[in-house]
Amino acid sequence: MPSWDLLADLQLLLEFHFMQNALIVGTLVAVLAGAIGYFVVLRGQSFATHMLSQVGFPGAAAGVLVHTSPAVGLIVFCVAGALGIGWSGRSVGAGRRSEAAAVGSILAFSIALGLLFVRLYAGSAQGIYGFLFGTVLGITDQDVWLTTATTVAGLAVIAVIGRPLLFASVDPDAAEARGVHVRAISILFLILIALSVAELVQVIGTLLIFALLVTPAAAAQRLTSRPGLGLALTIGLSLLVMWGGLAIAYFSLYPVGFFVTSLAFATYLGIRIVKAAA
């Protein structure tokens, strides 16, 4: 039980190995998701993010089916999905009628495929919930290393392409004219989204990704339009939501997905109300 002695609470929180792993992965994931999410909202790609996260479910299940880690399956499926979106060359959105129907059909099929994979290896209901809504119990040491590697790689790429990406996001035509490879950068960025989705699934599952990849960034961009500050604020909010969600879930015994989505939603709502009142 938590007291209000923060140091003792922190000790309780770090008592078990699974919780240490969850906190390490959660922190890494929140930092990468914050950095990527900032650009996702800036570029209006929240729908592509939603699509990629749905592809994560068959990915994770396929990983288990072929006896590798779900994390490997997630990365393979999500990156393949990102290349698919990039290759089709259009901005994916819910706007056009035929496109929305096509996207919906693909999503339903991909989730059905995930269900088939789970049945093929006779997975349990708990296993399905883990993929869909996340679990903090299943994060292995191997996953910690994989997450560390992908986070470092992802942040390094963001550091390198950050400026041209910002330029290409704000004014693609001018960027093109100045010699920025807009198409290459947008495909590279889709792959980055895929990586952060694959990481996030481990903690909060495929269905709740929106709350950590899009909501903190949307909240931050309501507060400031300055890129550097906005980016820092997004990462800060992501960390807050992630740490808060993990800690409350640990002490309450209720699922982490509920607390993460609730904290994200409350933050977003709070900022909108404050901005509307001001």
């Binding site: 929240s46 096509a102 999503l107 059905a112 495929l113 269900l115 209901a125 708990q126 919930y129 997905g257």
Partner: protein
């Protein structure tokens, strides 16, 4: 081994046939009116509503129907003209699912015996596990939905294709729209029984999308969409009877395969012309 000699297959066919018909018809208008993602969001609501009812000790079906219809009407009346607010909508529905996860955990921890798989059957359907009362309720609801939709089909078609002219001609646009949203909510609730909250698209959107590729005539398209949905459910159920994998997978896969085939034929036809 005759599939029809088993009770569970009879119930599945009874509920599945009429649900598919309603889903195909309503889905036609969903695609026509570009409300594809409303139906996705309603699937999420159905998950939370169903589990919330179970936690409160009420019938699951009651929770599913009440929540989808209420939210469908709410979305239609509050956010009718709000395109491009996908961030706000996505945030709200991620939270709705999060609440569903809480209900799932509450329900599972209080009723450890049967609770564990209830969530999975809401998410992925449980058509082969329907009891006779559930099958009857679902079938009656689906027949009612279908008849109600056919009753408003003409004005609905009019306001979907050309809302301004329809309003000028005195069609009660707002009333027809709200009525359609009620039907949409009810259809999602029925389809959750058949294919599950996550696979609603397979029954509501894919058949309609195929029909709109094949024909541009409105009523022919609507009928084709309904017929395709029924055919997918029948074939899917038969396959699931002989092959031990989930019916909702077969139904969704059949729909998707047909959609891809229709797309390819459409492209080839255009290239030849």
């Amino acid at each position: 081994m005759n599939p029809l000699s088993y009770d569970f297959m009879q119930y599945a066919l009874l509920a599945g046939t009429f649900t598919a018909l309603a889903a195909g018809f309503v889905g036609y208008f969903v695609v026509l009116r570009n409300e594809v993602f409303t139906s996705d969001a309603l699937g999420h609501v159905a998950f939370t509503g169903g589990l919330g009812a179970l936690v409160a000790g009420v019938q699951l079906l009651a929770g599913v129907f009440a929540s989808t219809i209420a939210v469908a009407v709410g979305m239609g009346t509050l956010g009718g003209r709000s395109r491009g607010r996908d961030v706000a909508i996505g945030t709200v529905f991620a939270w709705v699912l999060g609440v569903g996860v809480l209900f799932l955990s509450l329900y599972t921890s209080t009723r450890s015996a049967s609770g564990g798989t209830t969530g999975v059957s809401i998410l992925f359907g449980s058509i082969l596990g329907l009891q006779s009362t559930q099958a009857t309720i679902t079938a009656v609801a689906a027949v009612t939905t279908t008849i109600a939709l056919l009753a408003i089909a003409r004005p609905l078609m009019f306001i979907s294709v050309d809302p301004d002219v329809a309003a000028a001609r005195g069609v009660p646009t707002a009333m027809v729209t709200v009525f359609f949203l009620v039907l949409l909510g009810a259809t999602v609730a029925e389809a959750v029984q058949a294919v599950g909250a996550l696979l609603i698209f397979g029954l509501m959107v894919t058949p309609a999308a195929i029909a709109q590729r094949v024909t541009s005539r409105p009523y022919a398209g609507m009928l084709l969409s309904g017929a395709l949905a029924v055919a997918f459910v029948w074939i899917g159920l038969t396959l699931a009877f002989y092959i031990p994998y989930p019916a909702s997978f077969f139904i969704t896969a059949l729909a998707f395969g047909t959609y891809v085939a229709a797309m390819l034929i459409h492209r080839l036809g255009r290239r030849a012309a």
